[in-house]
């Protein structure tokens, strides 16, 4: 049974069919939430909320888009809201990061697979990513972690192809600019 058929069943009153939709999309939504929130417990709660919000507005789901991308949009918006609320806390200064971490950043880029597994590296990744705008982080996560195509990004973000490409390019540039700060500090 396809996703739109399951949606139609749920809307006609067979609520138990929603379990299959949750089952199919759990891994993708949880992965997205983990990447955006960098906190497993928070990500699990956010994924639950995303599925509940989707259920609540299921009648508004347009069959033109895939259910998965529609769900991604709900989940990423929810995660961005959570991050904005958390962002009211004071952020770490760039100087503090430069002082502490240039060598760790270089090590992370040299050995990403080894470093990625370490909790310390995860913390460092989060600290660097927190320095780029939230929407840049979201589009990079959707593209690089979730592997969404340009077409899917257009549906999730609700913008044109040119806009998707431009935002992706600016997001990459922003992240690389942040990384250059560390590299320059290392080479001084």
């Amino acid at each position: 049974m396809t996703d739109p058929e399951l949606v139609a069943h749920v809307l006609s009153g067979r609520r138990e069919d929603y379990a299959e939709l949750v089952r199919r999309h759990h891994a993708a939504v949880l992965t997205l939430c983990r990447s955006l929130l960098a906190d497993d417990a928070l990500a699990d709660d956010a994924a639950q909320e995303a599925f509940l919000k989707a259920y609540r507005s299921l009648a508004g789901f347009q069959g033109g888009a895939a259910f998965g991308t529609w769900l991604y949009r709900i989940a990423s918006n929810h995660c961005l809201d959570l991050r904005r609320r958390r962002a009211r806390r004071p952020t770490e200064s760039l100087d503090a990061l430069r002082e502490d971490d240039p060598a760790r950043v270089e090590r992370l880029l040299r050995e990403p697979d080894a470093a990625g597994a370490a909790a310390e590296a995860k913390d460092l990744v989060e600290r660097v990513l927190s320095r780029i705008p939230e929407d840049y982080r979201a589009i990079l996560t959707l593209r690089e972690v979730q592997g969404l195509s340009y077409q899917e990004l257009m549906e999730v973000l609700g913008c044109t192809l040119d806009s998707v490409k431009a935002r992706l390019r600016r997001a990459r540039e922003a992240l690389e600019r942040e990384l250059r700060h560390f590299s320059e500090r290392e080479n001084v």
Binding site: Q48, K53, Y55, S57, L109, P112
Partner: protein
């Protein structure tokens, strides 16, 4: 997996960055997924679809806003209703019973402003 091959330097650099900063998190196990499905399904009753609920239950601001609007509308009638009286008519009614104003208006030949002005000056 190595990075390189036919890639441009920019692409190689970005691929290293991507692998460092956007590693794919481990997928949840089947048991974790089933536990998650159970948690979501248990919470569904608290998230009934919006279409199934009446408008005022979804938009809870609507009822107090409607009440306030009705109260303001009714108050505007009560407080300002007395001032909507025509001042000219009030003058006529107040002086009814042989006053110069009534006589002036009631006169058959008092049709022009000049008549009114002349008689008014004469009265004063």
């Amino acid at each position: 997996m190595g990075v390189g091959g036919d890639m441009e330097p920019d692409e190689i650099r970005w691929e290293k960055t991507r692998r460092a900063f956007f590693p794919r998190p481990a997928a949840p196990s089947a048991a974790e997924t089933e536990a998650f499905v159970s948690r979501v399904m248990a919470r569904l009753p608290e998230a009934e679809p919006e279409e199934a609920r009446p408008f005022w239950a979804v938009h809870r601001w609507f009822v107090p806003a409607l009440g306030f609007s009705c109260a303001a509308f009714a108050f505007s009638f009560l407080a300002l209703g007395g001032e909507s009286e025509d001042p000219a008519m009030a003058l006529l009614l107040a002086d009814a019973g042989g006053s110069p104003v009534v006589e002036l208006v009631a006169r058959p030949d008092a049709g022009t402003p000049e008549d009114v002005l002349g008689l008014d000056l004469e009265v004063r």
